[in-house]
């Protein structure tokens, strides 16, 4: 096999990453048009990426197991809110409160995940639409519980949470005296510098140095050889990042006041490590097999349905944890609305990062969160600058979220039809070769 020439590779790369490339361009343009203050932008993006990354990562496992984009993570988000309402009611606060939430939500999401998995096994090939509708259905059940039963059939005496009529949870739940920043900022008041909240430039510097060193050691140990160009690229990248950080620290700009929630990032990093470890295990390999071809997996003796259920359970638990991280950062949530858009925005984000219905990785998730939220931040400002109306930008970004999902799904379905056709053609040429 000859190495394809550069222009062909470029073409293939573009074709495979259309959505991502379009988004990079769109985000850049949006940023330039918006004329946003880089400090405000960085502040916002650090916040948004930290609080969304975990949720988006929870989508990877079902994709690998061949179940498509898991729109049912909305159920995980509902479970998280349910638990957070009760933990707030009990008055457990801070990091212990967050940990308690995570412990309590795990069995709940596992049960939801099991039921969802059962449903998906009955709707093979239509998991995504089933997941979406399931989200709407669960919304009804959730409302029934918190709007009609809590305070009435299920007693709860807490005027801060329960509506004045005594029945139903209020439409917003305030976490500011409880779980807010429980993970981002454990045991400290807002803006109190401590070791768990280093500034952005210092963190960037540390990442530049430690990241490069760590990667090189890792390659050494594995015996993998780095190509010269890749090495040069890595070193250049690190040097640029490092010099930017030093410059910022020296200049004492506002950017030094942006702080990184280190504990949250450790949790995210932990999840990334777990996911990559997981796909090296027996269960992970089985999941990959099932995702590639259910029939072959079944013939090889893998219990396909069981593996699929496990995949959904794992995704559901991760999503509920992710939503806890999300809400503790925001500090307040709308009881009957905050979970609604979780599926939409997480799925859109991972697709923007270059994932498809049958392929998703950690890189896609992280890149996607970054790009998607960049557009999210800049579009209202860009709308105001261009049309004198921030509403335009807001409508635009919602359209983009839906549009990205629609386009990726359509492209994927189309590609699959074409592939089925090509398969026939190759068979024909194989037949002719026999002559």
């Amino acid at each position: 096999m000859e190495k394809p020439i550069f222009s062909q590779r470029l073409k293939a790369f573009t074709a495979n990453n259309v959505v991502t490339i379009m988004f990079v361009v769109l985000s850049l343009l949006g940023y330039l048009v918006s004329g946003m203050n880089p400090f405000l932008f960085l502040l916002d993006i650090v916040n948004r990426v930290s609080r969304n990354a975990f949720l988006v990562l929870s989508l990877i496992i079902p994709v690998t197991a061949g179940m498509g984009l898991n729109f049912s993570i909305v159920l995980g988000a509902m479970a998280a809110q349910a638990v957070m309402i009760f933990v707030t009611h009990w008055g457990v606060t801070g990091l212990p409160g967050i940990l308690l939430c995570m412990v309590l939500v795990t069995p709940l999401s596992a049960i939801l995940g099991y039921l969802t998995g059962r449903l998906f096994n009955k709707t093979k090939g239509q998991e995504m639409i089933a997941g979406l509708i399931l989200g709407f259905f669960a919304q009804g059940v959730y409302e029934l519980f918190f709007l009609q039963l809590v305070g009435g059939v299920i007693p709860m005496n807490n005027p801060a949470l329960v509506m004045s009529s005594g029945v139903g949870i209020r439409t917003t739940v305030d976490l500011s005296r409880g779980l807010k920043y429980g993970l981002d900022q454990p045991g400290a008041g807002w803006n109190m510098p401590n070791l768990l909240r280093p500034t952005l430039p210092w963190t960037a510097a540390a990442v530049a140095v430690l990241g490069l060193a760590g990667y090189l050691i890792y390659c050494r140990k594995k015996g993998a050889r780095l190509s010269k160009s890749k090495l040069a690229l890595l070193i250049t990248g690190s040097v640029i990042l490092l010099s930017w950080s030093i410059y910022q620290i020296q200049s004492g700009s506002m950017i030094n006041s942006i702080r990184i929630p280190l504990l949250t990032w450790f949790v995210i990093l932990g999840l990334c490590l777990f996911i990559s470890f997981f796909f090296q295990t027996k269960l992970g390999q089985d999941m990959r097999t099932v995702g590639q071809d259910r029939e072959v997996a079944a013939v090889a003796g893998i219990q396909v349905d069981k593996i699929r259920i496990i995949a959904i359970i794992m995704s559901m638990i991760m999503a509920s944890w992710g939503h806890i991280i999300f809400l503790q950062n925001i500090g307040t949530f709308s009881t009957y609305g905050s979970h609604e858009q979780v599926g939409l925005y997480s799925v859109a984000a991972i697709l923007v990062g270059g994932a498809t219905v049958d392929r998703a990785g950690i890189g896609h998730a992280l890149l996607g969160v970054l790009l998607f939220h960049t557009l999210f931040i800049v579009s209202p400002a860009a709308g105001r600058r261009l049309f004198g109306d921030a509403q335009v930008g807001e409508y635009f970004r919602v359209f983009v979220a839906y549009g990205v999902i629609g386009v990726t799904l359509a492209l994927h379905a189309w590609k699959r039809l074409l592939q089925a056709k090509n398969k026939r053609e190759t068979r024909e040429t194989a037949g002719e070769a026999e002559e």
Binding site: T281, K282, T289, E428, G431, E434
Partner: protein, 528 residues
């Protein structure tokens, strides 16, 4: 001491819904022996294998009679997993491979070598890591055994078809306890060189003391590598022979031979009549039934048969001419060129088709009998419609009348024209399909597998109907069938298709040996 057999099947019988498909089959395979299993489609080979592998279809339909012995011990195999554990392996005709996985991953599929890690100590052995090094070493060993030099870390998707087959085999021989390996038509998709490589590999597998059961219809391959050969026909074991004691001709005769029940009809000649259909270099891309360049001519008033084994392409010809699968080549109707790949054009040229896939292509199962009969005529000839300028409406009365007529003419047993066709018996459904074809007033009628899945009694009724149409309406009929006997009973000439090509055209009263040889890809003695 009696000879030790790896596998013994004793007095195996099987019934599906009252039809006996296997009758007292006895089969024994020794260690290191290559045992050929030869038979036409529907002879019972696959049912026998399904029994051996404990497939669900067997147990869901009442199990089987007789007994199985693995290394002398009686076993009752209920699941494919159990068969696997007993050391029985199968190389499938269709690849059970995952294209995006490496050779190693495919070879070790669900038999990965694992090593413990801290997580697995808590969460159990499902969380053990894959030991890729050891897996690669194993895969290498298996590939070396087959003389395949491709790296084990290559993805399967990039491999040529032939090598994919080897990946399948490597997976089977990698199993330590493999005792018996079944090859199901392994050379069907391979080029000649690849097929030769494969035969070599099979020999070396047998040399390691593994028993091999080799299912094929390529008789020369059987003669090349098998030690003993068993011929099955119509669910009955005809003979088991040592290779030295037999030859290709005898096998061909054993495989096909049956009494031809001739319907009372004279031999006819159409030599002086016009050529109504001329097919030149027809290629059809129908999955599993590829046609690779077939040419023939049919004269007006003939009943022309197309026969051959399944998967050889005979089914593809009618499907290609009717525009249902991508086709190229030249088809002339009365000397006029037929545009291919457009079913509407084919129908407009007065061709009609009764599909081999009655329930899939032939019928709208949940529509009424009358709608099934008239729909093609409505769509292509605007019959049975009231017209109001650009608008049209179904003429219920005309439909009903025509359907009643057809029910009478073809003797369709039903409660009435409004009955849903799903509830009809197979034979009557087939008659509905024929009635629809007739509603087009065709000049050439293509009929594929007209008696498949139909009761014995109804079979001859369907064939008689075809004969009647031919004789009374002078309709040219091109009938494709896997059942040679049926072709020989009503056709004027029979073309045999092998490997997507025309192997030869025979007269219905030619000898069994000739038919057998053509069907198994040999040259006929008298030459085609």
């Amino acid at each position: 001491m009696p000879e030790k057999y790896v596998l013994e099947m004793k007095d195996i019988s099987k019934e599906y819904y009252g039809t006996r498909v296997l009758k007292n089959i006895n089969l024994a395979v020794k260690a290191g022996e290559i045992h050929g299993l030869v038979g036409e489609n529907g002879a019972g080979k696959s049912t026998l294998m399904n029994i051996l592998f404990g497939m669900n279809v067997i147990h869901a339909t009442g199990g089987y009679e007789g007994s199985l012995f693995i290394e002398g011990e009686a076993v009752d195999i209920r699941t494919p997993q159990q068969a696997m554990e007993l050391g029985i392996g199968m190389v499938h005709q269709e690849f059970m491979l995952i294209p995006n996985f490496t050779l190693t991953e495919n070879i070790k599929l669900n038999r990965e070598i694992l090593k413990p890690n801290p997580v697995s100590k808590i969460f159990g052995k499902n969380m053990r890591s894959l030991n890729r090094k050891a897996m690669n070493a194993d895969a290498r060993k298996a590939l070396d055994m087959l003389n395949i030099s491709i790296e084990e870390y290559v993805k399967v998707s990039g491999l040529p078809v032939g090598y994919k087959q080897f990946a399948e085999i490597a997976r089977e021989i990698d199993k330590d306890d493999l005792k018996l390996l079944v090859f199901d038509e392994p050379t069907a998709v391979l080029t000649e060189t690849e097929a030769n490589l494969l035969l070599e590999a099979i020999k070396s597998i047998a040399d390691r003391g593994i028993a091999v059961l080799f299912i094929t219809h390529r008789l020369h391959e059987v003669m090349e590598i098998c030690d003993r050969i068993t011929v099955i026909r119509d669910g009955v074991l005809i003979k088991t022979k040592n290779r030295q004691e037999t030859n290709v001709y005898e096998l061909a005769e054993l495989m096909v031979g049956r009494k031809v029940e001739k319907m009372s009809r004279k031999k006819r000649s159409h030599a002086e009549r016009e050529i109504i259909l001329k097919v030149k270099d027809l290629f059809v891309d129908m999955p599993g039934e590829t046609v690779n360049g077939v040419s023939f001519e049919v004269r007006k008033g003939e009943i022309f048969g197309i026969g051959g084994l399944a998967g050889q392409g005979k089914i593809g010809i009618a499907n290609g001419i009717m525009g249902l699968y991508p086709a190229r080549g030249e088809v002339l109707i009365r000397g006029e060129k037929l545009p291919l790949n457009d079913p509407q054009k084919s129908i407009a040229h007065k061709l009609a088709y009764v599909s081999e896939d009655r329930r899939g292509v032939g019928l709208l199962l949940d529509e009424s009998l009358e709608m099934n009969i008239v729909i093609t005529a409505i769509q292509n000839q605007n019959k049975f419609l009231h017209r109001f300028g650009p608008f049209s409406l179904l003429n219920k009365k005309a439909v009903r009348k025509y359907a009643r007529q057809m029910i009478k003419d073809l003797d369709i047993r039903c409660t009435g024209p409004a009955q849903i066709v799903r509830r009809l018996s197979g034979g009557n459904q087939q008659k509905v399909c024929i009635a629809r074809a007739l509603s087009l007033n065709p000049e050439i009628l293509f009929v594929s597998e007209p008696t498949r899945g139909i009761d014995v009694g109804a079979k001859s009724l369907v064939l008689e109907t075809l004969l009647k149409l031919n004789e009374e309406l002078d309709m040219t009929i091109i009938m494709t069938s896997s059942e040679l006997a049926e072709l020989r009973s009503i056709c004027d000439r029979i073309a045999i298709i092998t490997g997507g090509r025309l192997a030869g055209i025979l007269q219905p009263d030619d000898s069994d040996v000739d038919f057998g040889l053509l069907m198994s890809g040999q040259k006929s003695r008298k030459g085609a």
